[in-house]
Symmetry: C2
Subunit: 223 residues, 2 copies
DNA sequence: TAGATTGTTAATCGATTAACAATC
DNA sequence: TAGATTGTTAATCGATTAACAATC
């Protein structure tokens, strides 16, 4: 039953769900017990029907004339996204990006707790980053097993990404959060989510190119 | 004319375009002059028609029986994405994430050159990160003007994001690459591209929750 | 020519928006 | 009751896929 609900939630809806949290927390702090879809939609710049569909898809219903119960909404979204049940994770690659992620306090509120980092550089072994130990990569499989780690965060150079992913999968990792520029191949039961900076940069710079061209064109016509 | 082509390219296509580059470079290195859409599609796990549509949308056509000219393809994509014309950028926020981005060598091949970082912490002023100076934020507007900087990369804490974005816009920045968790509001002629880690993490963890629930359910049925 | 490959037009699919009925 | 708000069904829109004609 539960899985059926899960399956029906679209990718777009899942990506929007975290956006609701800050405004719901604010409403809770303001002592409001319910909130209308119109209010949420306005704050987020969405259509009211889209808001109701998003919430309906994770099983939360409102009440006519009243709106949606704030507390239930918060709990429902947290439960759906697994924020109520914190997962431990290892970072592989203790460079600047790995350190940045290890040092970011916000992930724990999103159900993710980074508990250690791994690297190949011996000068880093034994150090602590934001209170988390840096260990040698060869110890990764043993520690994954012992600590029941399910998530690995990849922040190694792109060239090493596939090899490191293979190690992680072999060690029993179930999900990879891939921050490298490389596309990695894994067995189909393994979850891979990629943060694709090149794609994001492509959107930004193609827009910049396009507005620059438009400006040039206007200028030429005026001369 | 050019703008019309630009406008018709979909968001999904733009995000896919960077993926073509590595395989085209490999084909070039292997001395191949042309490449079929079937070959590209297979490497990327896409449909062949989708590949042809992606390329057609940025104005590149193939030849029946031969495929697409590799060199033209590379040049066409680079031109469309502005990779042939490197833009200088400033990073605001010289924390770990800012340092990671400043130290990443790959952006220059993608048309982005980070030339300096800004921060509020006086102990960082005058230091260099990957050869780029860290300067005090109060000097940002002057330097943006003097160096004709168009892009600012935001890596400050979420709470400071809007204030810093306002400063950047006021200084004449035309595009913001927002790595903070905050949604920022800017005038409509300013380009904002956000790297939304919370959305990405939501996809990862909701999938993890969903497979865990499915496993639990199967186990219950067996008992 | 024959056959491989491109390019176009139509069909499908999924997400969003519009219209409106149901409910408190 | 009247009116605000939700929830559902239909329409629209955009992206992807399928079918097939055009080309070298």
């Amino acid at each position: 039953m539960e899985e059926i609900i899960q399956e029906s939630v679209s990718y777009s809806t899942i990506r929007r769900l975290p956006l609701y949290m800050p405004l719901l927390k604010a409403a809770l702090d303001a002592g409001e017990q319910s909130i209308s879809s119109a209010k949420m939609a306005e704050t987020l710049g969405l259509d009211t029907v889209l808001v109701r569909k998003d919430l309906a898809s994770i099983g939360i219903t409102g009440q006519a004339r009243l709106g949606f119960p704030v507390r239930e909404l918060i709990e429902g979204i947290e439960r759906f996204l697994g924020w109520d049940n914190i997962s431990d994770a290892f970072v592989i690659g203790a460079g600047n990006l790995g350190r940045a992620l290890a040092g970011y306090a916000g992930f724990e509120a999103h159900g993710l707790k980074i508990v250690g980092l791994f690297d190949n550089d011996p000068t880093k072994f034994g150090k602590f980053i934001a209170g988390k130990p840096v260990m040698e990569l060869s110890k990764f499989p043993h520690l994954v097993h012992r600590m029941h780690i399910q998530i690995a965060i990849l922040t190694v150079p792109g060239i090493d990404a596939q090899a490191v992913a293979d190690v992680a999968v072999e060690a029993g990792i179930r999900a990879l959060w891939n921050f490298t520029p490389a596309k990695i191949t894994v067995p189909e039961n393994i979850i891979v989510e990629r943060v694709d900076l090149a794609a994001s940069l492509a959107v930004l710079s193609s827009r910049l190119v396009s507005t620059a061209r438009a400006a040039e064109y206007r200028q030429q016509k005026n001369l």
